[in-house]
Amino acid sequence: MYKVLSKADLPRLIERWMEQATVYAPVRQGDFTKFEPLSDPAQADLHYAANTRYPPKSLFLPQSEVMFRVKGGEFESTEDEVSSRVILGIHACDTRALQLLDGVFLAEDYQDPYWAKKREQTTLVVLGCADPCETCFCTSVGSGPFDKRDADVMLIDVGDEYVADVRNEKGQALFDHLPDASQEQIDKSRQVQAAAAAKMRKKPFEGEGIKDKLYGLFDSDFWPRIQQSCLGCGVCTFLCPTCHCFDIVDEAQRNERVRNWDTCMFRSYSLEASGHNPRPTNMERTRQRIMHKYAYFVELYDEIGCTGCGRCVRYCPVDLDIRQIIRSVQSWEEE
Amino acid sequence: MNNPSTSSGHRTWIPRIVVFQCQYSLYCEADQRWMDIQLPQHIKLIKAPCTGRIGPLFVLNAVQGGADGILISGCLPEQCHFKEGNLGARRQLDEFRRFLTYLGMEEERVRFVWIDLSERGRIQQELADLEETIGAIGPARRLATRAIPAGENL
């Protein structure tokens, strides 16, 4: 079902949503945007073409999440501290990432209650990218700027309006009362999508066969070479929309059990109590990072664990580029 | 300024003081016994083998924990039981106080006392003086990000 929303009417629509739910949208902060709960519809910045630096996965897997508290000796769960939410302006790559993470957190044998409740209570209003960035490579990993598979609603910017592709009941609840889009508007939205696809930089690599190539390279000299400039910081993992590793800590001073994002790039990540570390040097850790995304994830979930958002490329302090690394993997010949 | 007090000048709030003490700095037994047994409830004592052990992390931990005042008591330079421990401490702690002041803490909240072996009663004096100073500037406002509400243990 296609609806149309004039940009001028968006603030009023947001206000309407705000009566029933918390609405998150990108909000300008200094030189970049970040998803924040809106107190005023005017705060939403949907014009800034680039993505938020901090990934919206934080809205489902918070960087620091209290799992339970102990108050006066009594256990206090935090599972139900979730309210109804709308996330407006999330990009297709980040939405796809949430779907990939569902594979991790909503597995057959175990469902993470914190993740599950948030996913249930949230409607995703995706804003497709009419103007993909130079560092975007979603098309190489099986997605695209207007990939709507995982959206509840996909918005396409056609000038003064958005054409809203309403995908399911959750989306309908938010957009039902709006006028239907005309055929002309729908056609225009298709043109915008085609133009965006054309604007995307030529694919840096082909996704086919990466997994097997990586497995073949496990003991190769390739890894000691490319890891040399990697500093072993957490920028790529923390900004990545699909990274999901965490560390659970009992913070005695706060009487809370907390789950924090963790990164495989830190030495302490795989350090065991005995002192043994299965990934003792940066080489093993860098190899693991690449293989987790492009081999192990594929093995487990049949999908590449990367959505091509480009954040790791843009913010790596030493200009390491996963596109370049994968290309090198594919063209690597053992000596 | 947030300084609750009655019109007669008596404080209605009790400053929470943390004392980091070098275990040798109170040579006079009576002084040490006073510290061990007769210290008022609102003053918490932490002993270290030497002030050299007391690094900026200790001070920051106390500041973030909500201490309104911090006293560090050590020996005079030539009298350190471990020869040079207190010398290392002095430069670091002095600079650290300057740094915390740069970030908005009131300088008077952290005080260093270097006690001569022959001095008696100095520590009680310093504590009373510190309490009065803190009373005048009010409870810790900035950097006390982990402060436990009054009434509970520090």
Binding site: Q29, G30, D31, F32, A49, R53, Y54, Q63, S64, C133, E134, Q228, S229, L231, G232, C233, G234, V235, F238, L239, D247, V249, E251, Q253, R254, V258, N260, F266, S268, V313, P317, D319, L320, D321, R323, Q324 | P56, L57, L60, L76, P77, L87, G88, R90, R91, Q92, E95, R98, F99, L100, T101, Y102, L103, G104, E106, F112, W114, R142, T145, R146
Partner: protein
């Protein structure tokens, strides 16, 4: 190719060929237009990959503590990098005999953030031409005055010339202006305490504890960082004011008398957090209190390691 790049390639090839070093650490062309990639070459033929320009963001000295022990390292050093090398040698983190410093007088690092703030996120190409930086985006060409888009630390740099280098490529540059260097510290100090604290809180609250600042810093090389201690828990790993403020305060403080003011920390930060106003204050104090400047001498110990009995009247109340 500019003259400097040519000279670097020659010298790097030479020291590899003559077996003076096992590896040369420098820069090569980056992927993103406004950046460069650190390069590690072990064979003379690879020297032609090396280049050097204003887009070289990183402090290469941070790799010295990551290399295998005993390796002989050739390293391209600008002013701050060479002072960091000196500080590392002083702290016994490397043998000076196993280092070969190729010194480069530095005209400053171009801050890609300042450029993107003006022209948006999609630069296609960037070149330096004399005093200008020419950036091409999808909308066309934009020109910047180099001096306007240098990183803040570079604009305040006191010592662009490398110290203790085995060879210096290029002519010496004038030293920086101390007044300009310390102005931000003095301005910050002139604010009211509550204003200073508010600034600090505002910067610290963006922090995502990725520790890019720590990893980019040449002087942060502890095998186990204080943030990883659990007993006592100095800085909780949660994203809270307590944990994050402790991180910023103590990391800066651990740099006292060691920080070379290169600004690599700020350049590495994905959240654009300001940090040099902390370390600059500490450096300033070390100068004022002890007349000490890191990297100025090969033997002088930093103040916290050089305590003396003469201190005794300094802190008497």
């Amino acid at each position: 190719m500019n003259q400097l790049t040519f000279a670097i390639r020659q010298e790097a090839a030479r020291i590899l060929e003559e077996n003076i070093v096992d590896v040369v650490i420098g820069f090569k062309a980056g992927i993103l237009p406004l950046k460069a990639q650190p390069a590690f070459i072990t064979r003379q033929e690879e020297a032609e990959k090396l280049m050097h320009n204003g887009f070289c963001q990183n402090n290469l000295a941070s790799y010295l503590t990551r290399r295998p022990k005993g390796e002989r390292v050739g390293i391209i050093c600008r002013g701050c990098e060479s002072r960091a090398v000196r500080a590392l040698v002083l702290e016994h983190q490397h043998d000076r005999d196993k280092l070969y410093l190729i010194g480069v007088p530095c005209t400053g690092i171009i801050d890609w953030r300042k450029i993107e703030r003006e022209v948006g996120e999609n630069t296609l190409q960037a070149v330096e031409e004399g005093d200008e930086v020419i950036v091409t985006t999808r909308d066309g060409e934009h020109r910047f005055q180099r001096a306007d888009v240098l990183h803040d630390s570079c604009q305040r740099c006191l010592h662009p010339n490398p110290v203790g280098a085995d060879i210096v490529l290029g002519d010496p540059l004038p030293e920086g202006d101390p007044e300009r260097a310390w102005a931000p510290v003095l301005e910050f100090e002139a604010l009211l305490p509550e204003e200073r604290y508010a600034c600090f809180v505002q910067e610290a609250e963006r922090c995502i504890r990725c520790y890019a600042c720590r990893e980019a810093c040449p002087m942060c090389y502890c095998a186990e960082c204080f943030v990883d201690y659990t007993t006592p828990r100095w800085a909780e790993s949660m994203i809270t004011p307590s944990g994050t403020q402790a991180w910023h305060i103590i990391r800066a403080f651990h740099q006292t008398g060691r920080c070379v003011s290169c600004g690599a920390c700020e350049r590495a930060c994905p959240m654009d957090i300001k940090m040099t106003y902390l370390t600059d204050k500490l450096n300033y104090d070390m100068g004022q209190q002890y007349g000490f400047e890191v990297g100025a001498s090969e033997e002088e110990q930093p103040p916290f390691a050089a305590f003396t009995l003469d201190d005794k009247n300094r802190f008497v109340r």
